[in-house]
Amino acid sequence: MRPIRFTFVALLILTAGTLARPHAAFDPGKPKDLKATADGPYAVDLDWRRVRGSEGYYIYRDGSRVAETTPTDYRDEGLQPATTYVYRVSAFDDDGDEGDLSDAVQVTTEALPGPSVPDDLVAIAVGPYRIDLVWSPSESESGIEFYRVFRDGNELATTVNTAHEDSNLDPETRYQYRVLAVDILGNESDLSEPASATTEAEPGPPPPRNLTAIAESSTQINLAWNPPAASTHPVQGYNVYREGEPIGFVLSTAFVDTGLSPETTYRYAVSSVDTREVEGELSDEVSATTDAPTDVIPPAAPTGLRLVGG
């Protein structure tokens, strides 16, 4: 029995000692089984096992007390997406004494969804050297920072707009484009569906200027003109058209059209041909009317020749 008594007495002493101190340290033990679960990009839900004798709990995030709560769970809101936080919880009693901190738990909020894939990408050839792109804006939680434009698999440009003008292209060439969106957080969407366009053929030289047609006789019309003011490639000659039909190619800036019918109007146009043998647009038409046929019929002979008084 002695040992039992001793134990009892010892308990009494210990208890009396504890009660005797008005603000004895609260030591209910640290909260156990703290769990932290990210709920979306901006909130974390915490819960833990109840601590017997506690009045409430303090919540610590990254070492700082951020809240106090009575139940054994807590929702921490207003957080940053895709961010890792460390939580601990402690219990306190009705005297305000705080117990030990729980073990730390780490949780990462969800990332914001990336931007949607740019839609409705359209590529339109504008002349021989340029293709214009346009697409529908991507949707984004965080906001779109810019778009990346790819041509034939290689990044071509970035733009904050939903359109891009691709210039200095080769004529008569097919190009394929894709676009992706990048949001403010750096998240990239998948590549859009491809869109293709083929640049137009390179234009020929400009038409000659100041084309004139002058009837020279009843069977001949003379044409003359000036070279075009400017041409990407040098002009080597001209095609001459009568009534829409080609009638000759000349290196000079004049043409003599013979064998025509008298008193007939003919329409002419001339085009330039450059050194690549590319023919340009026709000039404006001019027309001329051949002269009346040359009169080779003499008058009838005079009649009634008579002698009169001198």
Partner: protein, 128 residues
């Protein structure tokens, strides 16, 4: 040319009109005018004709420009005829003719220089 036309048109008429011509239009030139002749006197002849109204193939004529008058003395060789550019008038006077028998004819010209055939030849006895 002259020979052809003369032979064709002028010769048959020559004798027939000779007397009339003499009476109608030969006038002595210069101081001796109206006075009986001397072998070296000269004479003038005034002729008239009618303008053609059509060309050689019968189309209306709208580019008549003038006439040429030809004459030579009967018996002189073909090709020796004298020609005057008359102008647009249908009347002409030839001066300085010696007495003799002449053949006269006219042609018409258009603006392009096309010349008509000779008119019928008119024989004229010039002088006393």
């Amino acid at each position: 040319m002259w020979r052809e036309r003369y032979m064709k048109t002028g010769a048959p008429a020559l004798g027939a009109v000779l007397v009339l011509a003499l009476a109608a239009g030969c006038t002595p030139d210069g101081p001796g005018a109206g006075i009986p002749t001397h072998p070296t006197d000269t004479y003038s002849v005034t002729l008239e004709w009618d303008a053609p109204t059509v060309d050689a193939v019968g189309r209306p004529l709208d580019d008549l420009s003038g006439y040429r008058l030809y004459y030579r003395e009967v018996g002189s060789p073909a090709g020796s005829e004298t020609m005057f550019e008359v102008g647009a008038a249908t009347r002409a006077t030839v001066q300085g003719l010696s007495a003799g028998e002449y053949l006269f004819a006219v042609t018409a010209l258009d603006v392009l220089g096309n010349e008509s055939e000779l008119s019928d030849a008119l024989p004229v006895q010039v002088g006393p």
